[in-house]
Every structure is written in structure tokens, then in C-alpha cells.
């Protein structure tokens, strides 16, 4: 029986995080009232002309540099086709000379996925189908919102180097992390600022042929991407195995049934009649400008991993993955830079901090570093408590400690505290000393309830066991 493998290439469209649109001064923002962030240019009114947003080019170059692409002089082309959401009935895009050519994304597994190109283009408006079945063919009428028209997009096209649904998800999540790290995108798939099309075919293992591919359009979450590819790969394999063939077509993923379905009954061969956009001169970035942009690139997720594993060869890769994310990384850097043990920084960052970072308030990276550094004086549970309190506390770290009412406790103090609880619970204590381990939880609970702000659970447990050994040994 034939063994099959999937051959997958992805096209990722990301909205670039510019203040204004690609060719006009309208705000590039999500969530405006329909058709309020528009002007003659992005409405494609007769006589209007595009003027290129330099910031979009800079972001494109940042991404290209992060993907090790060749950043080059480039040219816009017109892609001609009729569609109601496209106000000029052509899209200004890049064709044979994109701003970024070549490149690669290295996945966590070490697998290298080649990049064909990452080019600039304008987004279209958005159709909202009303009535009927709510799809373009069967709706009663459609409304068009042109707020999105002219929003800058970077289309990143991969080589067909991806060989499973899981790898596709890994690729997109790594690419997303790079886009966020470079400041090019906010990476929000649910708001459509990251959209993925997948080109999928299968072939017998060992073969190098490229069979007919199917394009799956606009999958809007990582999970859906995995499901859509998984379904499509199985569909193609069973088609071939039953002696059938695969049609080159565009399919969309139906969330409810988990199936991919043909988008149109009739597949039209589109001829986009590309030609150079006469309204825009070629983009010719100066080498000095490219060098400046490359020089300003932050450390990317892959580099962050290398740094952490370099410091801690045995680090947990789950913790590292949390630590290299855009939100958590600045805290990790701050902790390591003031000299806290990297293991400690990693543990607090990957656990306690990761839960707080979405709404961190006064807990800045610097404050995080200061608090984690206190773990030499305080117990881990005290430090965790301090981190939590730091979110809403505006003051110095000493004031924070004072406010929470902590003082550092020596072993002597801990024994005294445990002793107090022991005296108050003689019956439980007797059973514990006699070997009934079940009551340990009760006793420790009492200790923590009373003294939890001052001592850690581990300290209390150690002191309790020490006292018990003393009592048993007489």
C-alpha cells in the first residue's frame, strides 16, 4: 500500500501596523463605523491617485530582514479583476519584483521552511451579505464597507516545504511571532489582521513530483488551519486511492462540518493582466536605509530561544516558549540583566508573570526584576504574592513589601510559628508524630493561614517535619 505525504505551501497575508493606509492618509484602524475611514483615494474615485506610505515600506523591509530575505528595489503592478469590494477593479500589488525575495523561517523543531517572497499590496473592502443564505451567490443583497480598502498588507509566500497540518500550524505561529516582534503586525487572526491561504497537494512518499494542488482560502484560526489541512490531505489521499483525480480548485473550510468545500461550482481561469502601476514610481530603498532598519531589528523569537538555552541548557522548552513571547520577553530580559538567577527568572516569567501580563498595570519589566530578585530574602510564595500585588501598587519596591506586610523570616522564626500551631492543635499533632501523614496537610494549612504572608509552604513543611523528628526521637 502506498504511503502518502502532504506538500503544503502557505500564503499569509498580514495587515501592517501603520497609522494610515498604504496609499492615502485615512486611519488604518479596526472597528470604525462602516465607510467612515475613507477618502477619494481608497474609494478609487475617478481622478484620485495613490501615494505610497513610507512607513509600510519600512515595516515590509523589517519583516524581510527578519526572514533573511533579499531586500531589493521593487515595483508595484496592477492586478486587474472585477469585484465589488475592490473600488478600482484592480488591486495595486507587487508582482515580479517584490520588496523581499527569498528567505526562510526556522521552526522550533529546527525544520527550515523556505520563503519565496514577501510583498506589499493593498487590502480590499469587505462585503457583508444580507438575507438569503448569507453567501455571495444566495444573499438578497450585499453591503460594502470600504474602511479596509487600502489597508497595507504584506503577503508572505512560503515554499511548499511544509509536510503536515501540525507543521503548518507551527510555521504560522512562528511567523506570527516574528511579525509581532518586528512591530509589523499585531498578529490578531480573529480580527483578520493575519489571514492564511493554504495550497495543499499530496504525493507518494519518496516521490518529488508536485501534483495538482487545491487552495484553501481564508482560514481564520490556527486550529481551523490544522483541521482544514488535515481534512484536505485525507480527502486527496482517498481520492487517489480510489482511482480518482484532484481538480485544481479553490475550496473553503466549513467550520461546522470540518470539511473543505469547493468555493465556486465553475472554476474560472483568471487572467489578471498584470502591468507596472504607472501612478507609482519604483521603490528604490537606499542601502543605508536598509542597514538602519536591519540595525534596529529586535532579537527575534529564534534568537531569544538560543539565548535562553545558552544560559540554561536544561531549561524546560515549554517555559522557554512562554518566555520568548512578545509580552513576556521584556520581563525576562530585565530579570536576567540585573543578575537574578536565569532559572528563577524563567520560572516566575513562564508561570506567575504569564498570567498577569495581559493586564500588568504597574508591574513593569523593571519592577518584575526587582521583585524576583527578592527571592533571596523571601520565599517563593511570598514573591508570587508580591508579583500579584505589584500590578496595582504605585510605589517603590520597599513600599510594596511594607504594604503587603512581609518581613523576611529566619528558620528560628519559622519554627516558632509552626510551634504555635502545634500547640493549638495537640490532637492532630499527636497523630502526625505517630506517623499519620494525612494530617500534615491540615497542620500546614493552619500554619499558612496564620503566617502565609511571612513564610513559604516549603519552609513550614521543613519546620514541621523537623519538629516531628524531634518529638518522635524524644
Amino acid at each position: 500500500m502506498t504511503q502518502w505525504e502532504a506538500v503544503i505551501g502557505l500564503e499569509v497575508h498580514t495587515e501592517l501596523k501603520t497609522a494610515t493606509k498604504l496609499f492615502c492618509g485615512c486611519p488604518n484602524a479596526f472597528g470604525f463605523e462602516p465607510n467612515t475611514s475613507v477618502c477619494p483615494v481608497c474609494l478609487g474615485l475617478p481622478g484620485s491617485l495613490p501615494v505610497l506610505n513610507a512607513k509600510a515600506v519600512e515595516l515590509a523591509i523589517r519583516v524581510g530582514s527578519a526572514l533573511s530575505s533579499r531586500v531589493q528595489a521593487s515595483q508595484f503592478h496592477r492586478k486587474n479583476y472585477f469585484y465589488p469590494d475592490m473600488p478600482k477593479d484592480y488591486q495595486i500589488s507587487q508582482y515580479d519584483v517584490p520588496v523581499n525575495a527569498g528567505g526562510a523561517v526556522v521552526l522550533r523543531s529546527g525544520k527550515v521552511v523556505g520563503i519565496v517572497r514577501a510583498h506589499l499590496e493593498e487590502d480590499t473592502g469587505k462585503l457583508v451579505h444580507k438575507g438569503g443564505d448569507g453567501r455571495i451567490g444566495g444573499a438578497d443583497y450585499s453591503l460594502i464597507d470600504y474602511n479596509r480598502s487600502g489597508v497595507p498588507l504584506l503577503e508572505i509566500v512560503s515554499e511548499p516545504d511544509i509536510s503536515s497540518a501540525e507543521e503548518a500550524k507551527e510555521y504560522v505561529s512562528e511567523l506570527r511571532a516574528i511579525l509581532v516582534a518586528t512591530g509589523a503586525s499585531d498578529g490578531r487572526m480573529e480580527e483578520g489582521s493575519l489571514r492564511v491561504d493554504a495550497n495543499v497537494s499530496v504525493r507518494p512518499v519518496g516521490s518529488t513530483e508536485l501534483r495538482t494542488r487545491v487552495e484553501i482560502k481564508n482560514v481564520n484560526s490556527l486550529r481551523s488551519l490544522g483541521r482544514a489541512i488535515g481534512y484536505e490531505v485525507e480527502r486527496q489521499i482517498s481520492e487517489y486511492e480510489s482511482g480518482g483525480s484532484i481538480l485544481q480548485q479553490t475550496r473553503h473550510f466549513d467550520e461546522a462540518s470540518g470539511k473543505t468545500l469547493p468555493l465556486r461550482a465553475k472554476e474560472e481561469a483568471n487572467d489578471y493582466r498584470y502591468f507596472p502601476e504607472p501612478d507609482l514610481p519604483p521603490i528604490a530603498p537606499l542601502q543605508a536605509e536598509i542597514d538602519r532598519i536591519v540595525g534596529e531589528l529586535p532579537l527575534l523569537p529564534a534568537g531569544r530561544r538560543v539565548r535562553l538555552f545558552g544560559l540554561m541548557p536544561g531549561a524546560s522548552s515549554d517555559q522557554v516558549e512562554v518566555a520568548v513571547t512578545e509580552e513576556v520577553w521584556p520581563y525576562v530580559v530585565a530579570g536576567i540583566e540585573i543578575g537574578v538567577a536565569p532559572e528563577l527568572v524563567l520560572a516566575r516569567a513562564a508561570n506567575e508573570l504569564a498570567a498577569l501580563v495581559g493586564n500588568a498595570g504597574f508591574l513593569t519589566p523593571e519592577r518584575f526584576a526587582e521583585v524576583v530578585a527578592l527571592e533571596e530574602r523571601f520565599s517563593p510564595s511570598q514573591v508570587k504574592l508580591l508579583l500579584k500585588e505589584a500590578v496595582s501598587f504605585d510605589g517603590t519596591v520597599d513600599e510594596l513589601v511594607a504594604k503587603v506586610g512581609l518581613s523576611s523570616s529566619g528558620a528560628e522564626d519559622v519554627r516558632a510559628m509552626v510551634g504555635e500551631v502545634v500547640e493549638a492543635n495537640p490532637e492532630e499533632w499527636r497523630r502526625f508524630v505517630a506517623g499519620d501523614a494525612k494530617v500534615a496537610g491540615f497542620l500546614l494549612g493552619q500554619v499558612m493561614r496564620k503566617f502565609g504572608k511571612a513564610i513559604s509552604g516549603a519552609q513550614a513543611k521543613a519546620a514541621l517535619e523537623e519538629l516531628a523528628r524531634g518529638a518522635a526521637g524524644l
Binding site: 474615485l45 486587474n80 487572467d271
Partner: protein
Amino acid sequence: MTDGILTLDAGALSAAVRSGEVTAVEAVEAYLAQVAVQEPEVDAFLSLDADAAIAAAEAVDRARASGAALGPLAGVPVAFKDNLCTTAFPTTAASKILEGWVPPYNATVVDRVLAAGAIAIGKTNLDEFAMGSSTENSGYKITRNPHDLDRVPGGSSGGSAAVIASRMALLALGSDTGGSIRQPASLSGIVGLKPTYGRVSRYGLLAYASSLDQIGPMAATVKDAALMAEVIFGHDPMDATSLRAPIPALVNALMEGVTSFRVGLVSDLLEVASPAVASAVGRAAATLAQLGAKVETISIPELALGLPAYYVVAPAEASSNLARYDGVRYGFRGNGETAEEMMVASRSEGFGDEVKRRIMLGTYALSAGYYDAFYLRAQRVRSLVRTAFQEAYSRFDLLLSPTSPTTAFKIGERSEDPVEMYRSDVCTIPSNLSGDPAISVPFGDEDGLPIGVQLMGPALSEERLLRAAFALESARAEEGER
């Protein structure tokens, strides 16, 4: 003074308005009276607004009364070709597909002309979307040549040319993609300047062929054309192809003569001209020589290749530029059950035959499998033309040729034969392909029909072109006085 208003040129009228000798209202009324007489015969306007013109003139007079400084075109009546966006008038490009459409913004040139104090009289007729050489392709009406009402005024800026020739306005704006300012200027006996590509902002010009389109002044005299050029030249941040070159003082340079100029008489373009036109161009060459220029004949065979290259590049760009007229957002909407049917109906019913012909030509030229043979090859020819001009301009300051091979032809005479019509532009197209400036200036006539001669120059040589045109114009005037 008010009796002589129609005899003043734009500079003089504006000076009179600024000094208070003539009010802007008096100036506009004199021109509106002329419109009342001429327009029923000439049919040059697609929209006219006398009340608005009077109101604008009153505003200029009030500004003067309040002590405000008035602009260089204060009180001067102007007309705009109807492919320039205006908020005060509908803008249709003479196409049914845009019937009644009023843009929400003014073209940059319109803003500049109005800011200079000019008074807009109306919008002028053209071949639909500027595609044509006779103004017969208008979706609305036929404009007649004021010199002979049975003949065309030329095109596509035929309405603007006819307005100036019949003195219904003092200045007009046209657009020139393959000769659409110069050819009607020639046929209607006025001055038309196509500036260097990028000299004048195209923002607000309804695009026909974006890499060739250029807006320019049309006027009764070279001096008026120079005055208007000074107002409309200059960089515009809304047009990425707009140049940042400084604006020369054009009017003040006119008198500087042509003594140092090396002028090339282009033999290849003389050969395509009628005997009367060729002879007028010969006399123009002799006149320039008499005035001290060094005139020599030059052959530039590549220029003949311009015509076929143009009729690939221009329709290709047009096929894309005109895609947006689909009935979805503005203008005429046809009926259809689906969005696609509606778009097809809108375009089938909204566009005229010549526009459809060029959309089809251009679509074909850009199609997969034909792109290399047509579009790419035409672009290579365009490079050849550009190189040939560069070579010529290394030896000559200016080139001299006919503007149009013939004088104005009869209405209907060429409308059945598109290719014959296309040949009307053979002398003017090369400068569009190279992006260089060129001017047409009246120089003689044939049986009362005006003949224009064309001066061409390298990029940014408008000052030189205007000086030479002014010299020819002055020489003709002296000849007339003798």
C-alpha cells in the same frame, strides 16, 4: 474700459481687475454675453453656470474692496475640460457612464487656478474619456470649430479649444495624452502647451493613460498660456509622479528671443503633412532662422513608430483605468440580477463605441500570451522613441514640426475610420511617449482654416518652447500689420 474687456489678454484683464479699472463682475458679464451669442452655434460646454460665475466674481470684487491681495488670474474667466474634477460642476469626461456625477473634491489644477482668482465659467466638451481627435466621440454633443461650423475643433480637448477660439473664456485647461491639447489648438487656431510629464499634478484628472496624460494650458496667446502655466506648474504631494523642479518665470522670459537656439526641423513629420501645413512649417523655420536661430533639418525615423506603440500602451492603461466604472459606487447603473450582470449592463450601456474599442484593444494587449508581443514590445518602442529624442536634443535645443498633418476636417469625415482618425496624432504622440514638453502655436491658415506648428523640447524646457512660440506669434502679428 468695459467695452474693450474682450480685447484684453489674461495678464491685462487681471491687472485691470487688481487695479480696480475693471471689476471682476464686469469681466465675467462681458464673457457671459459672448457665451450667449457663441455657445448655441459652437456647443463647447457640457455644463455652464452663469450665476455661480457672477457670484465668484462678486467674491473677487469684495476681496479687493476689503484690501486683500488678488492672485495673478483675478477675474479671468476660465473653462475646464470636463475630465477634471470640480465640486461646483458635474464631471463626466463626456461619458454617459458618469452622467450627473459631482466629485467631492477639486483637481489640484482646478484649486490652483481658482486660488489665483480665476472665475470658472463651465466645463468643456471632449471625446469620451479623452479618446479621440475630433470631440465627435462625446457621449453628449458635437462641438463645432468656430472657424467653420461644419468642421471639428479637433480633440480630445475640442471644447476647451473652441471656447478659447470663440472667446467664451480667456483661458482653458485641457489634457494631452497623445496630442489632445496641441491638435485641437492647431485646428482651432489657439495656443496649447503640453508640459513635461510630472510638471502639472494629475490629481483629479480622470485618467485615460496614466503614463502619458498631462494637463496643460490652452489660450489665445503664448503669453496667456505662459501665465496659466506659472499658476498650475509645481509639485503636488497628492501625485507620486509629480516633479519637484522649480517653476521658471515663464512670462518674463518670453521676450528673450531665439538667437542662440539650435532648431531641428523634423523631416519625417513634414512628409506626413498636407502641402499647406508643410509649407506653413517651412515658413516658421525660415522665420526662426531670420530671428537668429540656427535651423537645420533632422530625420528621426523612430518617431513614426510612436503611433502604433501609443495605440498599444494607451489602451492597455485605459483598460485598467476605466475598470472602476462598474455601476457599483457612482455614475450610471444598468440592471442585472447579480452583481456581475449589473456591472456588465452598466459598462455595456454606459460606454460609447470608441471607449469600448480601446478597452478591448488594451485588454487584449495585456492578456496572458499576448503581453510580450504587444505591451512589452510597445514599451520597447517607447524606449526607442525616448532615446531617439535624447539623441536629437543633444544636437538641438528645439524641434519643429507640424502639430497636425491637416487643418480641421469635416464633421463625420473620419468618424467611420478609426485608424484614419488615429493618424491625426502622428506628430504629437512622440512627445507623450517620451514625456517631454511640446507646444502648438498658430502659424498661418489654409482657406481660413488655422494651421498650427509644433515646437518640441527636452524635459523641463517649457521656457524655451514658450520663447520660440512667442517669437513666431510676434512675427505673424507683425506680418499681419504690414
